[in-house]
């Protein structure tokens, strides 16, 4: 039997906009994810596992291993 000192991952695999993404960190705030993946538009929709995360919560909401994340740019026109 193997024993681990910690069961925390040093990486995470998530689904971002229906694609697999691998990050060499244990978790990432929404704000960090948007910067890393260069989502630069002012108006965005962020969903984690189907639940909306609003702008003020980007800094203190963390994405974890296995999460399904959707980021949508909102553009004027209709």
């Amino acid at each position: 039997m193997k024993y681990f000192l910690t069961n925390q991952n040093e990486y995470m695999d998530i689904i971002l906009n229906n694609n697999k993404e691998h990050f060499e960190v244990e978790n990432l705030s929404v704000d960090e994810l948007l910067k890393v993946k260069k989502f630069t538009f002012k108006m965005l929709i962020v969903k984690i596992n189907g639940k909306v995360v609003k702008q003020p919560e980007y800094y203190n909401t963390y994405i974890k291993d296995g999460d399904n994340v959707t980021v949508l740019h909102l553009i004027s026109g209709g």
């Binding site: 906009n17 229906n18 002012k42 108006m43 965005l44 929709i45 969903k47 189907g50 639940k51 909306v52 609003k54 959707t70 949508l72 740019h73 909102l74 553009i75 004027s76 026109g77 209709g78």
Partner: protein, 195 residues
Amino acid sequence: MNFEQIISVLSKKSVGIAGCGGLGSNCAVALARVGIGKLVICDFDIVVESNLNRQYFFYSQIDMKKSFALKENIKNINPFIVVEAHDIKLEHNNIPSFFQHCDVIVEAFDRADMKQMIIETVLDEMPETPLVCGIGLAGWGNSNAIKMKQTGNLYVCGDGDSEVTEDSPPLAPRVGIVANMQANTVIEILLNESK
């Protein structure tokens, strides 16, 4: 499914249309033609001449409230459809009450902040109701960039990145493609549910 069977499913369904501009007016007309039972259409604006390059209104309807003008046009195409027209500005507080009995909601606003508002409202407060959005439709050509993408109950039609600017205005053909793609997605959802 033959046309009779399709009609018999769709005639029992109700669809909410949030905004009666380029997306909403064309999407509503397509849904009326296939015989959706009821349309709840909402807009606070009036028809102006510059709308006629893409919106389903007529010259004689300039200065009319968009919601009432669209109801008139729908009734002229298919008088058997129940149309509930509201001259109202949709907001976070009133969206659930206007659309509470709708099987699907169509987002048809022009401003990005309004799109954000309705998506957050519906996902938060009406998560069981599918929402079909139109995002990215400016300019001309590039038809193959326009796609439908689904995540959960959120369906997004459009190219996802063409913003309306002075040099890339919204024009009838491309707006029409997205509006009809929204209508097509709506009936796909409703007909799949009935299987």
